[in-house]
């Protein structure tokens, strides 16, 4: 039986980052993945690196990760572009949220500023008339997540990480995993399988939350920033069975990525045209010019949602050598690098750079 210092299960961006981080620390690492690298939620994601501030723990992890993302800024295949996030206020009520949001970002050390209506249209001339203003976070960026996942895996492989193109069917009572091909690996296990988490760790509640995205043909110069409505958090954090929010992103190709939708209870990957309709009609309200652009593709993905919205990062309660990094919902790209660093620090017995307690899986043990 092959033995490793750490067996990372799942090569989405989180697992890839964990393998990268652990191999950098000198551990002998195995990475287990039956599908394409970054082929799950990583491939479906927008790739928006954003300082989400709706919760202090979420913001702390995002802030920590955004710092680590700087190291990817010059990696060509990452398609990293610091376009900034422009939060737009549809109403005076939305605009009233800006000072508190600014204060939260400021407290976390994220540079941001309020934008009046005149500047809003200078920044994004395609926005619909009559918006009340907004908030700009200049350092937020966009990336192409599956390419980053592949880069992280390649780097880990160069450091000697062993790659197993197989799924893990079972975690051993002591430690180690059994693979689908019945071979067994021994050593501490770190589960980073996103939505598939319950298959290996049924004790950690996790729900898939389906999302739709559309991408257009190339229309360079139409959109300049990642633009979201300030009410986005209502959709992201609401408990409604389904919700949509205005969220568009300029790709480096000149294409425009359009989101977003959130659905609980939808478990098949088919594109739902009724959901697409709602999502696009929301987007047209903020950016009518989108109506006449050609869409090339629609696709769906599933966000892994934990019991309380925070990811599970750390040791699985009651298991000596089983660790988890999963449940990042819609923020898994942004927080992947920080999550990996934090978990690997815990595995190594090092003190993480941020307080790991809010993400400790023990909080929801059942």
């Amino acid at each position: 039986m092959k033995s490793y210092d750490l067996i990372v299960v799942g090569a989405g961006i989180v697992g890839a980052a964990c393998a990268d981080c652990a191999s950098e620390a000198g551990l002998r690492v195995a990475l287990v993945e039956p599908g394409p690298i970054g082929g799950g939620a990583t491939a479906a994601a927008m790739g928006h690196l954003v300082a989400m501030d709706d919760d202090p723990a979420e913001l702390a992890l995002a802030r920590y990760s955004l710092g680590l993302w700087q190291a990817m800024a010059d990696l060509p295949q990452a398609e990293y572009r610091r376009c900034g996030t422009l939060w737009v206020a549809a109403s005076e009520e939305d605009r009233a949220r800006i000072p508190a949001k600014l204060a939260r970002l400021d407290a976390a050390g994220v540079a941001a500023r309020a934008v009046d209506a005149r500047e809003l249209y200078r920044l994004e001339p395609a926005l619909v008339a009559g918006l009340a203003g907004g908030l700009l976070v200049p350092a937020d960026a966009v990336v192409f997540p599956p390419a980053v996942a592949r880069h992280l895996v390649e780097r880990a492989l160069r450091r000697g990480t062993a790659f197993y193109r197989s799924g893990a069917s079972h975690i051993g009572a002591a430690a180690g995993v059994r693979l689908h091909d019945h071979s067994e690996l021994s050593g501490p296990v770190l589960v980073a399988t996103g939505c598939a988490l319950p298959q290996l760790l049924p004790g950690l509640p996790l729900r898939p939350r389906k999302g739709h995205l559309a991408i257009t043909d190339r229309y360079p110069g139409t959109v300049h920033h990642q633009v979201l409505e300030l009410g986005y958090a209502d959709s992201a954090h609401g408990e409604a069975d389904s919700s949509v929010a205005f969220n568009v992103q300029p790709r480096p190709t000149g294409q425009i990525l359009i989101g977003s939708s959130r659905e609980y209870g939808a478990t098949t990957p088919e594109v739902s045209l009724p959901m697409v309709r709602r999502m696009l009609q929301r987007a047209f309200r903020f950016m009518p010019v989108l109506r006449q652009l050609d869409a090339l593709r629609l696709w769906t993905g599933f966000r892994p949602v934990s019991a309380d919205g925070q990811p599970y990062l750390g040791r699985v309660a009651g298991r000596r050598d089983v660790w988890v990094a999963a449940g990042h919902e819609g923020l898994g790209i942004t927080t992947s690098l920080g999550s990996a660093r934090l978990v690997v620090d815990l595995v190594l017995g090092r003190r993480p750079a941020i307080d790991p307690q809010p993400y400790d899986p023990a909080r929801v043990a059942r």
């Binding site: 043909d217 190339r218 229309y219 190709t253 006449q292 050609d294």
Partner: protein
């Protein structure tokens, strides 16, 4: 025979028989169509709206397939030239 249709391609006036496609009208002027994402010249391949190599800007709308559209009087066409 019905009267020719007049349109503008990259600012040049051109008259073609009705029923002519925008792609054929562009070819009559000997103009290039588009540049690929790496900057290479491309021109129609399939002629039936499948390959998308003939995309041009028509009446302000980018990425239109020139082979699928018959010319219309007063049409404004811009290629990547």
């Amino acid at each position: 025979m019905s009267a020719p249709v007049r349109l503008q391609i990259n600012g040049h006036g051109v008259e073609v028989p009705p029923g002519t496609s925008v792609a054929a009208a562009i070819a009559r002027l000997g103009l290039p169509f588009r540049r690929s994402v790496q900057g290479h010249w491309r021109a129609p391949l399939c002629g039936i709206g499948v390959c998308f190599e003939c995309r041009v800007r028509i009446d302000g709308l980018a990425q239109q397939r020139a082979c699928m559209l018959p010319v219309r009087e007063g049409m404004q066409v811009w290629t990547d030239a």
